[in-house]
Amino acid sequence: MNSRRGFLKQASAAAVAAGTIPPILTWALPPGQSVDFPGEDGMILRSYRFVDLETPVEDFNTWLTPVPHFFVRNHMHEPSELDPKDWRLSIGGEVDNPLTLSLAEVSKLETHSVVNSLECAGNGRGFYRPQVPGVQWGRGAVSTARFSGPRLRDVLERAGVKSTGKHVMFRGLDEVPGKVPPFIRSIPIEKAIDADTLIATHMNGSPLTKHHGFPARALVPGWIGAASCKWLTEIKVLEAEFAGNFMSPAYRFPNQPVQPGEAVKPEDTHPLTALTVKSVIAVPSDGASIKLGRIVVHGAAWAGEADIARVEISTDNGATWNPATLGHEQSHYAWRLWSYDWKAVKSGDYSICSRATDNQGRVQPSTAVWNPSGYLYNAIDQVKIHVS
């Protein structure tokens, strides 16, 4: 038992013994002690080993997420030893001239920057019912950064992709425990040669940190985070989609809607690619008590490869909707911050909802499509508050 819990338990017992039961102790407790995690600031700890850290949504207040607040998703152990002098990136498979590049050589290539909102495919998994196995992310497995590095297509051009090359596989240096399949995935060649797909070495102007894939990671903008392989060490051009656990059965979505709880055959699924349309409310927090008067509701909205067209807010549990104001900062693959000025004139309990629409006409649904692995949760966001 940790010391704080131990103290409170003994304090409560002592108070009960003294006939003075302090009800405040039953609800005033902070939700457990914090855990030291150098370089990561006030993050929601989903797992220490492997490292899985969620950004608290109240931190969605800057267009670019400071790196210490950027969510972290690892499937495996991070590389235990990684000397940038020894690091190499190989490019092979269906190419005419296989290459091996050092970090110094990668650094000499022309650099391109993309502001991208990276979201884990499982963000929001914890809201699906019935529950599904996996990291039980809430709303914060998404963050935005300016990623910089050479274009993947420049490196592929140097290697000379053969006409048989249809998919591009990424392998990282994460360390695989037991007989767990390695975290290897692939993307179609069309996305690989897109001008915005990068071998990213920098994030918000600084070299990648270890948690985010130092010294280089793939950056596949607008797609599920799993496409953007960290600690990248091998790029291999393939004739077909990579055959491995993290392409199938993992990271696939049913072709047809299924009943919640229903099993799905692998042949009735397709690999996840681009993110869908979504908004979340950063402030106010769910369960907040707020004074009557002007209440600012703000949050973020994103749509993968599409652009956000509008965000609407309801303060009456979805009966009526009003447009939010979109933030000025924008970039094709990045979220838009938004805000809504609400004048609450009557005390009571309110359910505030946010709903995003993108320029492809996709609208955030009232219910997300249940699927066996809990991917792409994007139901209309909702917080309940009390105004008095």
């Binding site: 304090a11 939700p31 220490y48 080993r49 670019l64 607040h69 037991g178």
Partner: protein, 121 residues
């Protein structure tokens, strides 16, 4: 009442009177590792599961027995060492402790580093 009990009452009352003392207490940091719950399979589950990942991955799940069975079998395939005679008991232990009717899991936070939380544009 013992001296230590009196001290605890005094501290508890002080805490009630001065809620500002709570943040200071909350800044204390916890162990980085979490434990699996007590029970006949605690030791064997610790050996089988926590070799590769930590307990929080399990503590946050709320799954049916059928779903736990699939997870345990997947993990055995992936290298978890579970004696065939223990498989059923391990599934019962996990589905008993981490079923959908259990209260929601409350995750901890990493310590706040105010130097790191500067805003950027």
């Amino acid at each position: 009442m013992s001296r230590s009990a009196k001290t605890f009452v005094a501290v508890a009352l002080l805490a009630l009177m001065a809620p500002a003392t709570f943040p200071a207490l909350a800044q204390k940091t916890a162990s980085v590792t979490a434990d699996l719950p007590a029970g006949p399979m605690q030791a064997k589950a610790t050996t089988a599961c926590l070799e590769c990942h930590e307990a929080r991955i399990i503590l946050q799940q709320r799954l049916s027995k059928a779903a736990w069975t699939k997870e345990v079998d997947k993990m055995i395939k992936w290298g978890a060492v579970v004696d065939a005679a223990d498989r059923e008991a391990l599934i019962d232990y996990l589905s008993g402790n981490f079923s959908p009717d259990k209260p929601p899991y409350e995750p901890q936070r990493t310590s706040a580093d105010r130097k790191a939380s500067g805003k950027m544009k």
